[in-house]
């Protein structure tokens, strides 16, 4: 029958098409041979957003920084637990008595990794000139640097340099076609390569936390040859560019980067540093990071033993964690657990230049007394986090652990509210709290806060907006009460106190409340030029005390990081800045009991 022949033919075609497709898949699978990790390779399944750039000057997001920090090194680095500044590419340094001249003696014998950008593909030793080149790029808008705010006003001649570069931008609409050699002739006088092994920075005025700034990811030393060979901006489509082709001195090298699929780092065989036991670093062969966009999927990879470190996603929280932040039975003892305070603060800011909050200190104080932080942490953040009673998070010099003046006290809050002129909230209109985002947790936090304010008679309603709009509402003084947070850029109280200096008004600075107080500014300014650590800490405490009394914020919480480790992971303390450095990490397959049970 013709019909049945037709049906058979149809079947045959369908089967053939699928066999052909399977063959294509097979061929593709063979072609992308895949990275076969050795047992001594750290395996990560991460839900972090995509890595954008591996150009140190463009390090603004944590996913990119977490890769860049393995490939590049700066003059100085942070101790992984204490966050103190420790030597890295600089062996030692002097600071002039007036605190404005930093002279670094550079380590000798440190080489870049081998790369075709060098003559014969052979790496050379890094020199002070490389440091000057790399640091100058941090000031350069033409390099699309995101870090120039850190040095622009501080390093001698940097502001003028930025201005000249901007001028160039004005004159050349297609600046990305400018000749690189021409661009390099311009210099920042404050960055000086004295000789091959000596590098000097001159500041306009003393800035006490400067070394901590230099340990940030922007101030990494890259090989100028790589930037010239691969190009750093606006290259023709498809060409290999520098941000995809890092050449540094770090413990690892980039072996493979497929966006949204995987990143492979392998150990740098010529790496200079040795571990505490005299063994060459890094201890592991490499890092294999695969992208798992869904956090729950990433967690399942960890449970299946295919990933070595993880956080705990919301969906899995109740299954894995007890309310007291310990692991539930099947997980306890099987995995290591580290809970570390983050250098972070969540707050609700008041517009300090407008009524009703900005003009009424008693009102702001009353509201601070009405915040039941423990309940918010328990109910909203599932017990993760600590109550914040001031602007400086714990873990930084200047934080006062005994300061609990705004501890929850609804009775006292009502009294102060009456003194502020609003007995039981009468006379105070319903206020709008601006909240950023689409995420679930911040909203629940705002709702909890709204309820707590209602208890003393202050009515609040929420207005939720996407992040860029949220910031714009604050800058326009439209938001009188708004949710924000701050994560430390570098581990110093100054980074948090800067949020209150009248010089730093948003949007050009981080002072989103537009707080201006000459007393505070004077304390801050004195701290910046005070080179004696103990005296500076005392000034930090005094400055923080002014803020705590003035309450430009509703102080709410400091967050914590929860990390689970596979039992074979050793020597990987969680870093309060949220940075990752894998060079000291060890994989010990014999270990059955986790290091941090």
């Amino acid at each position: 029958m013709r019909l049945y022949a037709g049906v058979v033919r149809f079947f045959a075609v369908v089967v053939l098409i699928h066999v052909a497709m399977l063959l294509v898949v097979g061929a593709l699978a063979r072609a992308s041979r895949g990275y076969q990790a050795t047992p001594n390779t750290l395996r990560l399944a991460t839900s972090a957003v995509q890595v954008r750039s591996l150009d140190p000057a463009q390090m603004s997001d944590s996913a990119s920084t977490s890769i860049c920090d393995q490939i590049y090194e700066g003059l100085v680095s942070y101790d992984q637990t204490t966050m103190e500044v420790v030597p890295s590419l600089a062996e030692s340094w002097d600071v002039s008595p007036d605190g404005t001249v930093y002279t670094f003696r550079l380590r000798s014998g440190v080489r870049f990794i081998d790369d075709p950008c060098f003559p014969d593909g052979k790496a050379r030793e890094f020199t002070a000139e490389d440091v000057r080149y790399s640091f100058t790029r941090v000031c350069d808008p033409i390099a699309m640097s995101l870090g120039s705010w850190l040095v622009e006003e501080r390093v001698e001649g940097a502001a003028e340099y930025v201005e000249r570069r901007q001028q160039l931008l004005e004159e050349h609409p297609d600046f990305w076609k400018l000749d690189t050699a021409d661009l390099e002739s311009d210099r920042v006088p404050g960055f000086e390569a004295v000789d091959d092994r000596t590098f000097r920075i001159r500041l306009v005025e003393p800035f006490a936390p400067f070394l901590k700034v230099l340990a940030m990811a922007y101030f990494r030393v890259a090989a100028p040859e790589a930037i010239r060979a691969y190009g750093a901006i606006g290259n023709p489509p498809g060409s290999d560019t520098f941000f995809r082709h890092p050449v540094g001195t770090g413990p690892f090298m980039l072996a493979r980067w497929e966006p949204d699929v995987e990143i492979v780092l392998v150990g740098n065989p010529g790496y200079w540093e040795r571990g505490a036991d005299g063994q060459p670093l890094p201890h592991i062969d490499g890092v294999h990071m695969v992208s798992r966009r869904d956090p729950h999927t990433a967690f399942m990879e960890f449970e299946g033993g295919r990933s070595d470190l993880t956080g705990v996603p919301d969906q899995d929280w109740d299954r894995v964690m007890n309310p007291d932040k310990t692991l539930k039975p099947p997980f306890a003892g099987r995995y290591g657990l580290q809970t570390t305070p983050r250098l972070q603060v969540s707050y609700h800011g008041f517009d300090m230049q407008n009524p009703p909050f900005g003009t009424n200190k008693k009102l702001r104080q009353a509201l601070n007394l009405a915040v039941d932080r423990d309940t918010i942490i328990r109910e909203v953040f599932r017990g993760v986090g600590r109550p914040a009673f001031g602007p400086i998070p714990p873990g930084l010099a200047g934080h006062d652990p005994d300061e609990r003046r705004w501890e929850y006290d609804p009775e006292r809050a009502k009294e102060l509210l009456a003194e502020a002129g609003y007995p039981n909230g009468e006379g105070l209109d319903e206020q709008v709290m601006y909240v950023s985002g689409t995420g679930e947790v911040p909203d629940r936090e705002a709702v909890a806060l709204m309820d707590q304010m209602a208890k003393i008679g202050v009515r609040i309603r929420l207005k939720m907006q996407p992040w860029p709009l949220h910031l714009e509402s604050i800058d326009r003084h439209e938001a009188r009460l708004f949710t924000l947070g701050w994560i430390a850029d570098y581990p110093d109280a100054e980074n948090f106190l800067a949020l209150f200096h009248s010089r730093n008004f948003s949007p050009d600075g981080p002072n989103s409340t537009f707080y201006a107080n000459p007393e505070f500014d004077a304390l801050y300014d004195r701290a910046m030029v005070e080179l004696d650590t103990a005296k500076r800490e005392d000034l930090y405490r005094q400055a923080a005390a002014v803020i705590i009394d003035d309450c430009p914020w509703l102080f709410t919480t400091n967050s914590e990081t929860i990390q689970l480790d596979q039992p074979w992971i050793e020597d990987f303390p969680v870093n309060p800045l949220g940075l990752f450095f894998y060079k000291n990490l060890r994989i010990n397959r014999d270990r059955t009991v986790p290091e941090h049970p």
């Binding site: 399944a45 808008p141 609409p173 966006p259 714009e472």
Partner: protein, 313 residues
């Protein structure tokens, strides 16, 4: 044949205003929704010099009509520029993602169509009997369950508990194709469900026609009646829907791609929207629009082929 040819030319000419419309709407939407992409990148450390440089490089410092005509000119040549966030060429990014999406979407669609049309036929032939009721129940359930739930459930059972299949990731290594199983299964089930329901409805409608009764009265076997007479007439809605589904499969399945960490076009589009990455948004939207317009054209041509009553005028 010349009728066909002039029809194709006319239809292709018609796609130009459609694509222009899509472009214009996307452009307007992007600039109506406030929020500066440079600000998003820099957050609370705004730097005026940097912002100016970025705006300059992306042309955002120009008046809107200038930006519009500049972008339109580039897009006409299928050049969407560089991504704001990853600074890769958008065309390259889309083309790099396309194999992953196609590898997943096309087999899932053909397999789903094959099974779905078969099940739909069977269901229609046994209308309102046990077979039909169970098929309807199952497909109704499949249409109602959110895809990602099904995906997570399968990950848990087949990947985590039974350790049979990798739970996520793109093909690599000798057993890499195993990574394809779960996402493909989920997508195939989805296609199977809606195609079964569509086929069943279409066939049932045809089965009430007089000519079917005549064919049955002639004594033709049931299968012959259904396949040769009913299915052919039911092909019209199927072909239209399937051709659009092909375009859909190629422009990415976001949920499945996200859950299974599959680096496809859908994921690229959603990232772009989150980052206000205008060139990539434009690139993925225009890519999808072109696919849909072409698929629609192919669908119309096929309809004319299977149904001689439809003429190409």
């Amino acid at each position: 044949m010349s009728g066909y040819l002039s029809y194709i030319v006319r239809r292709l000419a018609l796609t130009i205003p459609i694509l222009w419309g899509v472009f214009t709407v996307t452009f307007i939407l992007f600039f109506i929704v406030p929020g500066d992409p440079a600000r998003l990148l820099m957050g609370q450390h705004r730097d005026a010099a940097m912002e100016a440089a970025m705006a300059r490089q992306w042309g955002l410092d120009q008046p809107k009509p200038v930006q519009y005509s500049r972008f339109l000119r580039k897009v006409a040549l299928l050049d969407f520029g560089q991504s704001f966030t990853t600074k890769r060429d958008v065309r390259v990014s889309i083309l790099q993602r396309l194999p992953a999406t196609a590898l997943l979407g096309i087999p899932a669609l053909t397999l789903g169509a094959f099974l779905g049309i078969g099940a739909g036929l069977w269901s229609a032939m046994r209308a309102n009997r046990a077979v039909d009721n169970s098929i309807r129940f199952v497909t109704f359930a499949l249409v109602s369950i959110p895809f990602f739930l099904l995906a997570i459930f399968l990950q848990w059972v087949l990947g985590q508990k039974l350790q049979l299949l990798p739970i996520a990731g793109y093909i690599n290594g000798p057993w890499g194709w195993l990574h394809l199983c779960l996402p493909m299964f989920v997508l195939t089930l989805g296609n199977f469900a809606w195609l079964t329901r569509l086929t069943r409805t279409a066939i049932l409608e045809v089965l009430t026609q007089d000519y079917i009764r005549t064919a049955k009265a002639k004594g033709l076997p049931e299968l012959v009646v259904v396949v040769r007479h009913a299915l052919r007439n039911a092909m019209v809605p199927l072909v239209t829907n399937l051709s659009v589904a092909v375009a859909g499969s190629l422009s990415g399945a976001f949920f499945v791609e996200a859950v299974f960490g599959w680096p496809g076009v859908g994921l690229l589009a959603v990232d772009a929207i989150n980052n206000r990455d205008f060139p990539t948004i434009m690139g993925t939207v225009m890519f999808g629009a072109i696919l849909f317009v072409l698929a629609d054209l192919v669908g119309d041509l096929l309809t004319a082929y299977v149904d001689p009553r439809v003429t190409l005028k």
